[in-house]
């Protein structure tokens, strides 16, 4: 039987960072990744769904949920747009209906800042200059400026970006500093093994550690480790714990609960004709992340705004009916929609998303085969959050002349996201969450959850850097513990 000081399940931010730090500290480390291992030469500049399906999973469920998850060595650091923000202090201070902070008391921006800095250096995160920001980002900023709203240059992990527009497809030029270029090689240089194609079935505590049961190439295997880090992401981590609950009977009943999509709510903005005068703008010229964002409504309405690029958002326009509208087609398919796309999309569409401090309204469960599924929970608080966003959007529409379309009908809002958070949330006690403030699963010594699922609540900004900072801290504490 294979034995390691640490087995890490998942190789995204929550897995590769502990792998690097534990290996640096002299521990033997095995990382089990369900997806394959790719290099820059394996990526393509393509939106072909057949290619996209190779690098991301869609988790479809009976509740129509379609969530995207990374599936390769490097996890979500590869099919993402490179945004890495520190979480504002205000986000740490959000309280529940009883006035209790979601985040454990020890967590604050000041406490995490040293870990943020460490992760930013490793990932080459920096703020863009205006000369690096595409016209999509520039026009988004211009739109906000029209109503007196502010916009910030984004913080991304690109070096010498070629601005080809295929960031989320993996970056064939190797300019996006995904985990393939920093933490993973650091881990491997210290002896960590990243093993691709491994589907973990369940965990079992045994004397002195844990057995990790997994399948590779159709062969059932298991490995022993003194400590295990679960970092499969906001859907697969709770699913693994739920599959293991017969062997982990003291697991908190919060496993899978509080799933949160970071308040992501996407829109298409149709710029008024006068914006055409600004440029021969094509929204897909330049990096996927349009390079700006806005905190303007964060304090007052709990959300931030983030523009995007690429052609993909167009097809996700909600079904709408506007038969007497001068701009919109009568529906989001058929001849009127095709004509709308032909004439408007290349020059006057900006896609953007709100991220915010929203309550979750789903939980992760598993089906009879142990596969992840999503179940509905009360969405009244989430709907109230959407109401706050849509009031602002209506005002923005009225003041700028920009037409705003949600990308899904309201009843389906929140059914798609790349931010999959809080499903094994960190809390002060097992009565409120799954892991303690140090990332350790309540009731199970040396079993850690170290990914987006451990976040206590929505952030309101992109979560990658906060996942990284907490992973740095969790690894540091685990090493200190010995």
């Amino acid at each position: 039987m294979e034995q390691y000081d640490a087995v890490i399940i998942g190789s995204g931010y929550g897995g590769s960072i502990p792998a690097a730090r534990l290996a640096e500290a002299g521990m033997s480390v095995l990382v089990l990744e369900r997806g394959p291992r790719y290099a820059a030469a394996d990526f393509e500049q393509s939106d072909d769904p057949r290619y996209i399906q190779r690098i991301v999973d869609l988790v479809l469920s009976k509740t129509n949920v379609a969530f995207r998850t990374g599936k390769m060595v490097g996890g979500a650091s590869i099919p993402m747009d490179g945004a890495h923000f520190r979480m504002p202090q205000r986000s740490f201070e959000v309280v529940d209906g009883l006035g209790r902070r979601y985040w454990p008391d020890v967590y604050s921006r000041a406490m995490l800042d040293p870990y943020y800095e460490r992760a930013e250096q490793m990932l080459s995160v920096r703020q863009l200059g205006w000369t690096e920001i595409s016209k999509a980002g520039g026009l988004f900023a211009k739109m906000l400026d029209t109503v007196g709203a502010s916009a910030e240059r984004a913080r991304l992990n690109y070096t010498d970006c070629r601005q080809c527009g295929f960031c989320a497809q993996g970056c064939i030029y190797g300019k996006k500093q995904s985990l393939l270029y920093n933490y993973i090689p650091l881990a491997e240089s210290h002896g960590a093994e990243f093993r691709a194609g491994c589907l973990v079935d369940h965990l079992e505590p045994v004397k002195g550690g844990y057995l990790v049961y997994y399948e590779r190439f159709g062969v059932a295997r298991h490995a022993f480790a003194r400590r295990v880090f679960v970092a499969g992401g906001g859907i697969h981590t709770p699913a693994l714990l739920l599959r293991s609950q017969n062997w982990l009977p003291a697991l908190s009943s919060h496993v899978g609960e509080h799933f949160n999509n970071n308040g992501e709510h996407a829109f298409l903005g149709i710029l008024p004709p006068e914006f055409d005068e600004l440029s021969s703008y094509l929204c897909w010229k330049g990096m996927d992340n349009a390079g700006v964002m806005s905190f303007h409504w964060f304090d007052s309405h709990d959300f931030t705004l983030h523009p995007g690029g690429g052609i993909e958002p167009t097809v996700f326009a909600a079904d709408f009916a506007a038969p007497d509208d001068a701009v919109l087609p009568s529906r989001a398919w058929g001849m009127p929609y095709k004509r709308f796309v032909e004439t408007v999309y290349p020059h006057r569409i900006i896609a953007f998303s709100a991220l915010g401090l929203a309550e979750g309204h789903r939980a992760v469960a598993i089906d009879a085969a142990g596969a992840p599924d999503m179940v509905e929970r009360d969405r009244s608080a989430y709907d109230a959050y959407l109401d706050r966003i849509e009031v602002v959007m209506a005002d923005l529409e009225a003041q700028t002349g920009v037409r705003l379309l949600p990308t899904v009908p309201r009843p389906l809002a929140g059914t798609t996201s790349a931010h999959l958070l809080c499903s094994c949330r960190m809390a002060e006690s097992a009565a409120d969450g799954v892991v303690d403030p140090d990332g350790q699963v309540f009731g199970y010594e040396n079993l850690y959850v170290c990914d987006a699922s451990a976040l206590s609540f929505a952030l309101g900004v992109n979560p990658a850097l906060t996942i990284s900072a907490i992973a740095e801290r969790t690894a540091e504490l685990a090493i200190a513990k010995g």
């Binding site: 072909d48 988790v59 009976k62 129509n64 062997w247 806005s294 058929g334 999309y345 089906d367």
Partner: protein
């Protein structure tokens, strides 16, 4: 190997999974449940459609199916299911055979074929998609399946299928649009560059100047 005693199931665990004797290996996608939902939706459509037909049945004789045969199935197999899917894609993104001055349509760029790619999620609910469309078509236009309808009639069927805003059919429509408009397809016709060396040396890609007021010093809110 030591086994812990079996405890009562976790509230989020299905009863079957709670029994370790039948614990199956993890599966990456919960596709069957989506299919199950779509099947429920299909049965709902089948049940509801006759009422609609009573209100909207035309008195004109139905056109001959051959009048509306597509010039290509766009990569879908020449089977009843393949013809329905191709007609569905052509309804969502009309092809050049009925839009000669416009951009290519879904069938012109091979979008129907993607529904039959076993690696894509659409392959999982093909049967339900065809069932729903055909059921509504036959209820609204007795004796005629979806593929045999005039494009305007197909529009009516799809409107009916999408009447429920939470219908899984919305995802089928979005997939048809994604397959049609993405880079290898109509997107290229519209100006989407496809593979390229980057625009970093193209002054036209950026305004290069501040376009709004900033309130942070480094892009992070304190």
């Amino acid at each position: 190997m030591r086994r812990l005693p079996v405890e009562p199931p976790h509230p989020n665990a299905s009863p079957r999974t709670a029994d370790p004797r039948v614990l199956a290996r993890a599966r990456l996608l919960a596709r069957r449940d989506f299919i199950g939902l779509a099947a429920v939706a299909a049965s709902a459509f089948v049940g509801a459609a006759p009422g609609c037909a009573a209100d909207e049945t035309t008195t004109e004789p139905p056109p001959a199916p051959s009048d509306f045969d597509l010039p290509t199935l766009g990569g879908a197999p020449d089977t009843p299911q393949g013809r329905i899917v191709a007609a569905f894609v052509d309804t969502v993104v009309p092809g050049r055979w009925r839009d000669p001055e416009g951009a290519p349509g879904g069938i012109d760029v091979g979008a129907p074929g993607m529904f039959f790619d076993p690696e894509l999620p659409a392959a999982q609910f093909l049967g339900v998609l065809a069932l729903v469309l055909d059921a509504i078509a036959k209820a609204e236009f007795p004796g005629r399946g979806f593929a045999a309808l005039h494009p305007d009639e197909r529009d009516r069927v799809l409107e009916e299928a999408l009447a429920d805003p939470t219908s899984p059919m919305i995802f089928a429509v979005q997939l048809a649009k994604l397959a049609a408009f993405s880079a290898p397809g109509i997107g290229r016709y519209l100006g989407y560059p496809g593979p390229n060396p980057g625009y970093v040396d193209d002054a036209d890609f950026t305004f290069g100047v501040a376009m709004a007021t900033e309130i942070t010093t480094d892009g992070n809110l304190p």
